[in-house]
Amino acid sequence: MFTILVVEDDRNLQRLMAAMLRQNGYQVLTAGDGEEALSVLDASHVDLLVCDIMMPRMDGYELTHLLRRSRTDLPILMVTARETMDDKRKGFLLGTDDYMVKPIDMDELLLRVAALLRRARISTERRLTVGDVELDYDRLTLSHRGETAALPQKEFLLLFKLLSYPGQIFTRRQLMDEIWGPDAESDERTVDVHVKRLRDRLGDVTAFELQTVRGLGYRAERSS
């Protein structure tokens, strides 16, 4: 079970988030400001931090900054009323993993928390499992029903990226920038070619499907 620390000075919102997270099977700790949060972090193991920005004594920026300076990889989700690009930029520069603007949709909060935890696990375990398919990031291999095959690097990275965010559409340009780098000379059609090769390779895989979203890009959809 994952433990989540909710740092929020507004009592009602803190109770609401804690209740929502508990309802969905997380263990929840709470803190009213940054300093309190630090002492909770000292005392207990925490898998994810949900934190407000504007708080008394120590605000969310400072807390995030301190945690990142002490080289913690603890996933942080900032939840705040400040919605300008500058505020977001500051948050991300200080090292937050995700950012939500108040008033927050509780369902979205749950989805983001789950995604953050999944990615945190992927990045610690460096492997990804979707149904009966397992991807090993270090060896660039795909295992399916006991068969393990190595994939060409770009194809592997492409598949890993799409499967890390199941259901989310990526545009060709986004995938190019992420996998080939923003300065790559290649044509966006390169992505199409790699996706086609992946599809051929994944012919007998049923756990997920690589879908083309016309005009927009690709997504990996898990089979229900």
């Binding site: 008033p103 559409i169 060709r172 340009r173 290649s186 044509d187 059609r189 199409d192 005009g215 927009l216």
Partner: protein, 446 residues
């Protein structure tokens, strides 16, 4: 002839000319007159002296005393300065002639005559001069002149200053918040123009003030309506005798209304920030087609649940603008298109750019907008169909219009009721156009 400066200059020139001319004429006339008068007075006095000597037994000193006047002094002179008179004159004097000696412009003349063994001289009192005599005659004139000129100038200044005073009074009124001030002025000079502009300004302020009040009343209405629902349904939920379905329904309403409130709050915040802003902040060069694609991706939850299809025709275009602001434009327009599309509907998004302009059009096949409503859709809080508005704030298109204005472009709407609406954003192309000349990579992929 309409300008005050000309009028003032003309006026003062006239005053100076007239005053100088008048004083010149008066002074020159009077000065001759005074000299003539002095001579004549002297002649009369000589006659009096002669008459008094011939017909009375008064001695010379008495006669001198009688004849003397406050203006002239008559003296008995024992010895004459021969050098002062000159030989021939002295001779004429000795023969009984009356001599009139010119003493210069300021002191007039001195009359000298021989009477028995004595000489009599008639001259101005030593402390008086011709000038003083002039002044004694002119002072009334000068005072009158000053009074009249002063009066005229004051009257003129009043005439100039009166509208300024009126304006001052009016500005004070406006400062206090009274926008119903209007100044009548039939003038066509600077003051007239100032007054006309002032009236114009007050009219504009009145409109702005009206819009502001309207905005505030709209805002409070927009805030109070969802609050009333939230309050009401929360109260209902406090009663225990509710079925699970009712509970679920009421709490859904509360959640929806709260979402509406929050989107209203953010839209108002953005709009007020944009309205105080005069130019686009931190513009960057980016791929517009990619931004449109990503905006559609971000809106996926909305369109996917309605099974909407996108028909995209996006030419690769690099554009310089504030990416964040333009994102708001697209997400509002595409979001509206999604909102007003029927289930399973299609939305067409196209992007074409050339050296001059970039044209983005977003078309839905929804209910369309009535012609009467099209004029109002960019107004704050205007919503064509409240039933359809859901969580809309009524500010989205105002935001779009404002951002596109800041970017120097325009938004056009074409709509046919029952067939759908198309919003076309035309943006002027900036220096990015030059990069457009070389075909960007990946252009042929779609």
């Amino acid at each position: 002839m309409n300008s005050i400066s000309t009028k003032l200059a003309l006026f003062f020139n006239a005053v100076i000319l007239i005053a100088t001319g008048l004083s010149f004429v008066t002074v020159s006339l009077l000065s001759r007159q005074v000299a003539d008068e002095i001579v004549m007075d002297h002649r009369e006095m000589v006659e009096s002296i002669l008459t008094l000597r011939d017909r009375t037994a008064l001695n010379l000193d008495d006669i001198v005393a009688i004849v003397s006047t406050p203006n002239y002094v008559v003296r008995r002179v024992e010895l004459l300065d021969a050098a002062d008179l000159g030989g021939p004159a002295l001779e004429r004097l000795e023969q009984g002639e009356v001599l009139v000696l010119d003493r210069g412009r300021l002191h007039g003349v001195t009359t000298v005559l021989r009477l028995g063994d004595a000489y009599i001289s008639i001259g101005l009192q030593p402390q008086r001069s011709v000038l003083q005599i002039w002044f004694s005659r002119l002072w009334t004139l000068i005072v009158l002149y000053l009074v009249l000129a002063g009066g005229l100038i004051i009257a003129l200044t009043r005439r100039v200053v009166r509208p300024v005073l009126e304006l001052t009074e009016a500005t004070q009124q406006v400062a206090k918040g009274n926008f119903d001030v209007h100044i009548e002025s039939g003038r066509e000079d600077e003051i007239g123009r100032l007054t006309a502009n002032f009236n114009h300004m007050v009219r504009e302020l009145r409109t702005i003030d009206y819009l502001r009040r309207d905005f505030i009343s709209n805002v409070s209405h927009e805030i109070k309506t969802p609050l009333a629902s939230i309050q009401g349904y929360a109260r209902l939920l406090q009663h225990e005798a509710l079925s699970r379905e009712e509970q679920a329904e009421y709490s859904t309403i509360i959640a929806e209304e709260a979402t509406r409130l929050s989107s209203l709050a953010s839209a108002m915040l953005r709009l007020s920030r944009l309205e105080s802003q005069e130019r686009v902040e931190d513009p960057t060069c980016y791929r517009l087609d990619e931004q449109l694609r990503r905006t559609i991706v971000l809106l996926e939850p909305q369109w996917r649940s309605k099974a909407i299809e996108f028909e995209l025709d996006l030419q690769p275009v690099e554009y310089v603008a504030s990416e964040e602001l333009m994102h708001q434009v697209w997400s509002n327009l595409i979001g509206n298109a999604v909102k007003f599309s029927h289930l399973g509907g299609r939305i067409d998004v196209s992007l074409h750019g050339d050296a001059e302009a970039v044209v983005v059009s977003i078309g839905d096949h929804g209910p369309g907008i009535a012609a009467d409503d099209i004029a109002h859709i960019f107004e704050k809080f205007f919503q064509v169909d409240r039933a359809h508005s859901g969580e809309g704030s009524g500010l989205g298109l105002s935001l779009v219009r404002r951002i596109v204005d800041l970017q120097g472009g325009r938004v056009d709407v074409q709509s046919i009721v029952g067939q759908g609406s198309t919003f076309t954003v035309t943006l002027p192309n900036r220096p990015a156009a030059s990069r457009e000349a070389s075909p960007p990579s990946g252009g042929a992929s779609r």
